[in-house]
């Protein structure tokens, strides 16, 4: 067996022996069923004739007729359950897991936006707008920068001071 030599010991085990009694019983039961069917077939003249069992044993007939209500039972239990599970899994998948993944992206963007607000709007556009407001229509582009460059230079100063404080006093010498 190519591709399965390691299955050899699994497949090489003893198969079942042919048992004449078991085979005989099975054959007899099957034959009896066929014989019974043959015997009762005479009851019907045409295919539309009512089933005699329906009158004699209506309950038994219904059970047999509906294959023991196995399908209905199945639909009501396992079927319903699996439908419910499917809906639940799907909900978890799309509403919980996927949301989590998306939320990571959204949080990143929020951080970006926040950063943008601080970096550009608060420090930048605020003074900018102020300057623009006071200089509407004027050609004084020069003064527009004063507001901004001020802030940029504040960055440097803060940066250097914080670094200096950190290195002079923050770190254990």
């Amino acid at each position: 067996m190519p591709g399965g030599h390691w299955l050899a010991h699994l497949w090489a085990q003893q198969g079942g022996q042919f048992n004449i009694i078991m085979a005989g019983i099975a054959l007899l039961v099957a034959a009896a069923g066929i014989a019974a069917g043959w015997h009762y077939s005479g009851v019907f003249a045409t295919a539309r004739d009512p089933e005699p069992l329906e009158k004699a044993q209506p309950v038994l007939f219904q059970v047999l007729y509906n294959k023991g209500f196995i399908d209905e039972l199945y639909a009501a239990t396992i079927g319903q359950l699996s439908n419910a599970l499917a809906v639940a899994w799907n909900w978890i998948d799309q509403k919980v897991l996927d949301r989590l993944v998306d939320a990571t992206g959204v949080v990143t963007f929020l951080l970006g936006r926040l950063n943008f607000i601080i970096d550009d709007t608060l420090f930048n556009d605020g003074p900018d707008g102020l300057a623009n407001g006071t200089l509407t229509g004027g050609k004084g582009v020069r003064e527009v920068q004063t507001g901004k460059i001020h802030d940029y230079i504040t960055y440097i100063v803060i940066g250097v001071v914080v670094l200096a404080l950190f290195y002079l006093y923050g770190i254990q010498q």
Binding site: P2, G3, W6, H9, S82, L85, I92, D93, Q94
Partner: protein
């Protein structure tokens, strides 16, 4: 440079065959470019590109035929057709390609599915040259990924395969393509960045042990404790020693398993995202649904296998002890994936066809994951049989799922083209007007759900047999998945083809599959292979036997 015994160079007379195989799609692109300059009509370009993909296919078949499946050496299946050239000396990167049983099966799958994807995009009318060039580029990237045995190139192709896939989804995809393509790209890259960092760590660790390398085979051998020339000790020790050198041990303690476990999880997450293991699978339904037919085919049939291949190639050999430690966790994730995929599919039996198939993919990749977990649970020694069975099963399942899902997406695409509908509730009774179509799709569906006699069954059978030995609990529960995927797929079939005919489709008769149609010829080779491998799986299984039994 002299090669160790477990690496076999190709015969002297052969040109650098694998490199040529990898580059052949690029030549196709160049020719398409020339044709574009010469203003060749699009119809001819389509035909040309599809025909050209037979070149890599033929070349792969040559490799397959001359591949010696029984060659083993120094405790592993031999890697053959090796080409190894120093590339970046500064960081000891080699251009190192070769095939063994694992990669050869994947190479064959890639070269088979690309022509199919081309046939599926015959109806593209918008930027035809770009579309076909991108498909060829994607083929190069995927082949490169499966052939590279140096981490640097492996990673380059791994990441680069995203670029053509991104553009294919982005330009020709469905309504929400932008979102899907973004998510697919960013998710995969974020997963793999950790792996990149880990490999740099491994490089530095091996460097401090005196043998700097990115060689996947050498690192894999070190991981399993097999001898490698130039270095002694196993990978776990090397990692631990370097961690000690860096002083990390002061924080994380002195248990070497801690460090291999970190490595394990980093690699696992990178590949689990690509393989769509639960709970890293959420990109998959969106992406498969939004991608154009050719994209869905290649994504589901080949690209998702890149994750499983990576696990078999890197995760298990590198950190076998950590993998054993976490085998139960992997098994549990696989089980959840199997069950959730099945129920996910069931929940979409009134939704989109492609989404339903996508969910069954999650389910099927769950089986592959289960097999990998089973292999991990038993590193070497005790029961090589079950290991080998599980590896073979995983490989068979990967190939079979590639073929059958490819066929399903192909047919779903064909159905959409005929009806411009993708919601299952819009169909009904199509068998009356399209009997041949129903027959072909039915066979693809049965192969997908694992009907005995078709290839899907072989894979699933071997996986369950192999996983039973080590993960009986998860294996038992995983059978739930079998039932419900079958149910979902059958319901899909019922909603499309059975029942009363929806009067909208009365005129569809003329568009049934015919032996003169391309759709038919695109589907037939897949179904034929599924049938052949279902009855006689040796051509695929035989490949990996040496690789599987030895390690």
């Amino acid at each position: 440079m002299p090669l160790p015994p477990y690496l076999m160079a190709s015969p002297e007379w052969m040109p650098p065959w694998l490199t040529l195989l990898m580059l052949s799609p690029l030549i196709g692109i160049a020719l398409i470019g020339l044709a574009g300059v010469a203003r060749v009509p699009d119809r001819l370009i389509k035909t040309f590109a599809s025909t050209w993909t037979l070149v890599p296919l033929m070349m792969a078949i040559v490799v397959w035929v001359s591949f010696d499946a029984n060659a083993t050496s120094s405790g592993q299946g031999a890697v053959q057709f090796v080409e190894k050239i120093p590339w970046i000396q500064a960081v000891r990167v080699d251009y190192f390609v070769g095939v063994d049983g694992l990669s050869l099966a994947m190479v064959l799958l890639t070269t088979i599915m690309t022509p199919i994807a081309m046939l599926a995009s015959m109806d593209v009318t918008h930027r035809v040259k770009l579309h076909f060039s991108l498909l060829l580029l994607l083929e190069t990237a995927m082949l490169g990924y499966f052939l590279s045995l140096d981490f640097f190139f492996f990673f380059i192709f791994w990441e680069f395969s995203l670029v053509p896939a991104f553009f294919i989804i982005m330009i020709w995809g469905g309504e929400h393509r932008g979102r899907a393509a973004f998510k697919f790209f960013v998710y995969t890259v974020s997963g793999s960045i950790g792996m990149l960092l880990l490999f740099q760590f491994l490089y530095l660790a091996t460097r401090s042990a005196g043998f700097p390398t990115f060689d996947l085979i050498a690192l894999g051998r070190l991981g399993q404790g097999l001898p490698v020339e130039g270095i002694s000790g196993d990978l776990a020790t090397i990692i631990f020693n370097y961690a000690q050198e860096l002083g990390i041990t002061a924080y994380l303690g002195n248990n070497p398993l801690t460090y291999t476990s970190i490595a394990f999880w980093v690699i696992f997450i990178a590949f689990a995202i690509k393989l769509a293991v639960w709970p890293f699978h959420t990109w998959l339904p969106d992406t498969y649904t939004e991608a154009p037919t050719s994209g869905s085919i290649l994504l589901s049939a080949v690209m998702s296998k890149m994750g499983a291949y990576g696990m078999l190639r890197i995760l298990l050999p590198f950190v076998p002890d950590a993998a054993q430690q976490f085998a139960q966790v992997m098994g549990a994730l696989a089980l959840i994936g199997i069950v959730s995929g099945a129920f996910g599919a069931l929940a979409h039996t009134r939704g989109s066809v492609k989404r339903l198939i996508g969910y069954t993919s999650i389910n099927h990749m769950g089986y592959v994951m289960l097999a990998i977990a089973a292999v991990a649970a038993l590193p070497g020694g005790a029961s090589l049989d079950s290991r080998a069975i599980a590896v073979n099963g995983a490989l068979m399942q990967m190939v079979a799922h590639g073929l059958s899902t490819g066929a399903l997406f192909l047919l779903a695409g064909a159905l959409y083209r005929r009806t411009h509908c993708s919601e299952l509730t819009d169909f009904g009774g199509l068998r009356v007007v399209m009997p041949a179509f129903a027959g072909v799709m039915g066979m693809a569906m049965f192969a997908n759900l694992g009907l005995p006699g078709l290839a899907g069954f072989v894979g699933e059978f071997f996986i369950f047999r192999g996983a039973w030995a080590t993960l009986p609990f998860f294996t038992t529960l995983a059978t739930i998945g079998l039932i419900f995927t079958a149910l979902a797929l059958l319901l899909m079939f019922q909603r499309i083809f059975l029942g009363p005919l929806n009067p909208r489709w009365r005129d569809l008769k003329k568009q049934d599959l015919s032996i003169y149609g391309l759709d038919f010829w695109a589907a037939v080779p897949l179904l034929a292979l599924l049938l052949v491998f279902g009855i006689y799986p040796a051509p695929i299984m035989g490949l990996s036997n040496a690789a599987a039994t030895e390690w």
